[in-house]
């Protein structure tokens, strides 16, 4: 049971690393945003391939059944990734709104200038 869970996690982390690298290569993800995913995937890979590391972490967390520690660590990692992307999305939204407002204001002012020139002519 435990071995199967570790194997599945190992397979998922290899798959995740492959997908992320492929996406970076195809420019679907920018390099700076691939780092969080790659770090999470490598941690999953290490935990699922090393009984010693997983056992140590489980001991540190006071968890007797090691796979629970694996799930806890994986869940925490992905929560961190999601949190980071919430920050990125919020920054992007703020920038987007500021740019949109600036664009509308500039468009208005250009139009205003054109009308002033027409009146002067």
């Amino acid at each position: 049971m435990m071995n199967r869970l570790l194997s599945v996690t190992f397979g998922m982390s290899v798959l995740l690393i492959g997908v992320v690298l492929f996406s970076v290569r195809r420019s679907h993800i920018r390099v700076e945003y691939s780092v969080s995913w790659l770090v999470a995937a490598f941690v999953m890979l290490i935990l699922s391939s090393s009984d010693f590391v997983l056992g140590t972490i489980a001991n540190l967390l006071g968890i007797t059944y090691a796979p629970v520690a694996l799930l806890l660590v994986v869940l925490s990692l992905f929560l961190m990734v999601f949190y980071r992307f919430s920050i990125v999305i919020s920054d992007l939204k703020d920038a987007n709104i500021a740019l949109t407002q600036k664009l509308a204001i500039l468009e208005y002012r250009i139009q205003d200038l054109h009308e002033e020139r027409k009146e002067e002519d």
């Binding site: 407002q101 664009l103 509308a104 204001i105």
Partner: protein, 241 residues
């Protein structure tokens, strides 16, 4: 559109899908305040809001995608700030705010020295067209805001609001994006700014229908409460009593 004189005033009207009402609103403002520039910020309306507003004699800026109320209002404040207007009074584009009350707000802004003046439907009556649910919401937020603002506010959800240069400068930089009225009060209070209320009457909307549904009302309450709380955390200073 240029500010004229030291007491230059701009009327700001955010509008989304208001083709049925916007022309009347702009014309009413012009008849009450001839020569005062009226800026309509069209929130990427798919209908004829922009054309109607231009034909009625307003200056119009159109944002290229739907920003929501706060984003539109902030665009107006940004332009007013860039052009150097001393005062901005915001009214709704659906005709609920009677422009005949603008002079009272403007006078209060000039004479009181406070940074914001709210047109309130709950001083001397004037809120007969307000739904029971909105009235309950207003009562709730009055209670929430009372200890934060150190003074009572009768109509915290009113969008009929005038601001002076200091507040324009603040709002041009930072303005709540969704349901901005209540949060804006907290933002100003945290900067030790003052507000006053003047009585005014609200009318029924002249055309179109409100975008606030029952579900959105629940979201509104949660969103605004969170916004108020975050603004308190953001700006620790409180105005001394």
């Amino acid at each position: 559109m240029k500010p004229i004189g030291p007491d230059s005033l701009m009327i700001l009207i955010p509008a989304f899908n208001e083709e049925g009402a916007i022309a009347n609103v702009v014309k009413e403002v012009h008849s009450v305040l001839p020569g005062v520039p009226v800026l309509v910020v069209d929130d990427c309306s798919p209908d004829g809001t922009r054309i109607e507003a231009i034909n009625a004699g307003a200056d119009v800026i159109s944002v290229p995608y739907h920003l929501g109320l706060g984003g539109c209002v902030q665009a107006g404040y940004r332009l007013a700030f860039e052009l150097g207007f001393s005062y901005v009074i915001r009214i709704d584009g659906d005709g609920q705010h009677d422009p005949r009350f603008i002079p009272a707000i403007f006078d209060k802004l000039k004479t009181s020295g406070c940074q914001m003046v709210i047109g309130s439907r709950f001083i001397n009556g004037g809120g007969e067209h307000t739904s029971i649910w909105r009235k309950l919401g207003i009562l709730f937020f009055r209670g929430v805001l009372r200890p934060i603002l150190d003074k009572p506010v009768h109509d915290p959800t009113s969008g009929f609001v005038g601001v002076n240069k200091d507040a324009i400068a603040v709002f041009a930089r930072s303005f709540p994006l969704e349901y901005p009225e209540i949060e804006a009060l907290v933002v100003l209070q945290r900067r030790r700014f003052r507000f006053e209320e003047v009585p005014c009457k609200m009318r029924e909307r002249q055309a179109g229908k409100s975008s606030i549904t029952t579900l959105k009302s629940v979201y509104y309450v949660i969103h605004v409460l969170l916004g108020v709380f975050i603004n308190i955390l953001k700006y620790g200073e409180r105005r001394p009593k």
